[in-house]
Symmetry: C2
Subunit: 176 residues, 2 copies
């Protein structure tokens, strides 16, 4: 039940339409909880029916656009969710599976993929670091947005891990 709460969080930061949410997901919450517009529209409908958000009436000039805002019940549900006991979700990584398979049947075909993934992770790392420089400049003493910064740090740390691990793994595969 993560997606509805991701949407509640995004709507609390700023009331939005479905498409706006989709775009904002693509460059923030979507980094650790991606969602397509189909998913988002479906959840918006459910959240509205559940009485957690409401449709803000729009001037007729705005066409069929619907803008939503969070109701007090929605905020309460989100607070409760943050405190819930949840087991760490099972971790799935196809690339590790493929490396494991390569260990059994021979790993030559995998090298190109490792290189490609390394480049992608380097790119993602660079983009996270750019966001950090822009949103959390060092001269600004972190205060109210300390937690947002922790979230971004997780993204940075994970990308750094993959870059390191892929580099070392490529060396091991090259030595085959």
């Amino acid at each position: 039940m993560s997606l509805p709460h991701a949407i509640l969080t995004a709507l609390l930061e700023k009331p939005s339409s479905g498409l706006e949410l989709t775009r904002r997901f693509d460059k923030s919450i979507g980094f650790f909880w991606p969602a397509t517009h189909q998913q988002i529209y479906r959840e918006l409908g459910k959240l509205e029916q559940a009485g957690l958000i409401r449709d803000i009436p729009q001037p007729p000039s705005r066409g069929q656009r619907k803008e939503y805002e969070v109701l007090p019940e929605g905020r309460a549900a989100l607070v409760a969710w943050t405190a819930e006991r949840q087991e760490p979700k099972s971790f799935r990584e196809p690339l590790l599976l493929r490396l494991r398979a390569a260990a059994v049947v021979g790993g030559y075909g995998l090298r190109a993929e490792l290189e490609r993934h390394l480049a992608l992770h380097q790119q993602q790392l660079a983009s996270y670091l750019a966001i950090e420089q822009h949103d959390f400049p060092p001269e600004q003493a972190a205060t109210e947005n300390r937690l947002q910064h922790r979230v971004l740090s997780a993204g940075i740390g994970l990308e750094q891990f993959w870059v390191e691990w892929l580099t070392e793994t490529l060396a091991a595969v090259a030595a085959e």
Copy 2:
């Protein structure tokens, strides 16, 4: 399409029954690709129908137990899969979502969860390190099982990352 290839890999290492596979998943491949017995039986059926594995006839004394082995077609399919071009799969982490929500609605309820997850990751890290000591002792020059060691290293590195990140994040939450 990862699970069938995970099963092919496991069966190549050792022909097994469905339940045996389930148990072996729990302590190896399952670390980065968990699967329940229901999933595994379903996939075994599909793999057999596809002609990638076959049911080794059992002596009647073994009850309804079915043991499978990989056919040449199955090995070929696995080799092809390791070389496939696959985009890195989208990363989803509910704990980061909850921290992001806590940044908006207040993060007091989350502290206990952060502590609990920290303990769980420390435990998992310890168990990976124990496996490493047992299966890849330092005096043994890594040769044929270099790739398996790389896979385990990924697990170790990721757990180390989470332990660090959770420790720092708890400090940030405590300062609220």
